[in-house]
């Protein structure tokens, strides 16, 4: 629990707590003042989302304090939950059963185990190289060739998004940044904070000013006004947090910009997959938000890019 004595981390938690208190108070006041049924429905959904945020923030804060193992277990479970939502939508066939079993119970735990034992070289290639050749081979051995390439590609894509990409978030904990040893939990918090703040702020700006839709056929709620407002304000938030990171003010701003842009791309791509499958949400686990994958789609794209930018510029 050495981390609990890091004043910067406690300040960050305090800031999140303050934001939640404000959001809950404001939501309660607005819901009482709402005139029309339509605005009441919007606010009820908003308040359900805020309540879910309390739970998500508490879980995340506790695992962060419990150390690397806690974070690895949490993100490993998130990978499994996200993957179950993703694979449920796929038109997999009887012959994919064993391959899916490998994906859930061998490849995914192994990916997180490799972070736990600090084996970067294997962690970085387990899914892009070994799973990539394993998945089609295992499906071919099962003998069913109908839509073979489609099934193999879709399963591999799910492993990449839900496990490989997401695992780069807790992998920040093992980045050996000189002068920042033992403090990487704040880097993980920085990523999650900027990424999720960008999601929330894009939603807020979009609700307030949203006019011009970016890709109406993919995601009807994404507007240019929401996108720009969210990206700018989340980037400013990230830059303001530069003191808790190993970055300079400008670098923190640039990396925050990268996180928000990647997060936007993740949300867009995962929405396109939902439209293709004909569903609105990936699941129903988090009230007001949909499924796990609806909440973490932006981290899935932001985490690997942020990880490699930091690794390239800050790890000798």
């Amino acid at each position: 629990m050495r981390l609990a004595h890091d004043p910067q981390l406690l300040w960050l938690f305090g800031g999140v707590l303050g934001a939640l208190v404000v959001a809950s108070g404001l939501g309660a006041i607005l819901e009482r003042a709402a005139k029309s049924d339509q605005s009441r429905a919007v606010l009820r959904n908003l308040n359900a989302r805020t309540r879910a945020w309390w739970v998500m923030c508490s879980v995340f804060a506790l695992t962060l304090l419990s150390g690397a193992i806690g974070s690895l277990v949490l993100f490993g479970l998130l990978s499994l939950l996200a993957m179950r939502e993703y694979m449920t939508l796929l038109p997999t066939r009887r012959g994919d059963h064993r391959t899916l079993f490998w994906g859930f119970f061998i490849i995914t735990p192994l990916q997180y185990y490799l972070i736990g034992i600090h084996w970067y070289g294997f962690f970085a290639i387990l899914i892009p190289v070994f799973a990539f050749v394993f998945v089609p081979t295992r499906i071919a051995l099962a003998g069913d060739t109908e839509r073979f390439l489609e099934r193999a590609a879709k399963i591999q894509f799910g492993l990449m998004i839900c496990t490989y990409c997401l695992s780069h978030a807790p992998a920040l904990l093992i980045l050996p940044i000189p002068g920042y040893e033992g403090q990487q939990a704040k880097l993980l918090l920085f990523l999650v904070l900027v990424d999720q703040a960008s999601d929330v702020l894009q939603y807020v700006w979009g609700k307030l000013l949203g006019r011009r839709k970016i890709a109406p056929s993919v995601s009807p709620n994404k507007t240019w006004e929401g996108f720009l407002g969210g990206v700018v304000s989340a980037t400013l938030l990230g830059a303001a947090l530069w003191r808790v990171t190993p970055f300079s003010f400008r670098a923190a701003a640039a990396l925050s910009l990268a996180i928000t842009l990647m997060g936007f791309a993740g949300g867009l791509v995962m929405s396109a997959i939902k439209r293709d499958a004909g569903v609105k949400d990936y699941g129903t686990l988090i009230e007001g938000h949909g499924g796990i994958l609806d909440r973490i789609d932006s981290i899935c794209f932001a985490a690997p890019v942020f990880f490699h930018l930091v690794r390239y510029f800050y790890v000798p």
Binding site: T88, T92, F101, F104
Partner: protein, 214 residues
């Protein structure tokens, strides 16, 4: 008067809901605790336990599965679960055991056993296909539910469609894959006056298929 549940029952129901991530939908039928027969498509060993776990607890404690004796009497664990935890009504599988001439008598004792399992206010879960299918199509129904309806004409038959369980644990596999399942309950059926066996069984099968989403 609800029979007290075995302490393991709640735990098993929770585990089943966790593994199957089951989403329950009641469409055109409220979840009520009065006497009913729930009948569903059958494609996985997990079908019964997931359907059972999807019922609200006050309904679940008074609902008994109808299961095949040859499967549930094997080993040590299965008879215990079937007898104590699920309080299953075990029956001989299918019509094929009955030799010509014996069929009527065997059928009658089967129906007697189901009526006994129903009791005053209990409910049953049955899989009228009699055996697990691939999950792609719903097979033809065996006549048990028709004979049960004949003997107890005011009995409600509630159709249910189990989705994705054939993908979680298909026939012939031992290890499950945790995909999300859906259980959809539909509007109840009753035997109509003068309805033939074939018409009732086809109507029941169509009611299950109608709950399919895709």
């Amino acid at each position: 008067m609800s029979p007290s549940a075995h302490p393991l029952a709640g735990v098993l129901a929770w585990v089943a809901r966790l593994i199957s991530g089951v989403q329950v939908r009641w469409e055109g039928v409220p979840p009520e605790a009065h006497q009913r027969v729930y009948f569903a498509n059958h494609s996985s060993h997990l079908d019964f336990v997931v359907l059972w776990s999807a019922l609200p607890v006050e309904i679940r404690t008074r609902t008994r599965p109808v299961a095949a004796r040859d499967y549930w009497e094997k080993g040590l664990l299965r008879p215990y679960l079937a007898g104590r935890v699920f309080r299953a009504a075990l029956i001989e599988r299918g019509d094929r055991t009955a030799a010509p001439g014996e069929g009527v008598a065997a059928g009658r004792t089967l129906i007697d056993r189901l009526l006994e399992a129903l009791g005053e206010d209990g409910s049953l879960i049955v899989f009228p296909e009699g055996t697990r299918g691939t999950g792609e199509e719903v097979g033809s129904f065996k006549s048990g539910i028709y004979h049960l309806a004949r003997r107890k004409p005011d009995l409600e038959f509630v159709p249910a469609y189990l989705e994705n369980l054939n993908r979680v644990l298909p026939k012939g596999e031992v290890l499950p894959v945790p995909l999300l399942c859906t259980v959809t309950f539909g509007p109840p059926l009753r035997l109509r006056a003068e309805e033939t066996r074939q018409s009732f069984l086809e109507r029941a099968r169509a009611a299950v298929c109608a709950l399919r989403r895709r």
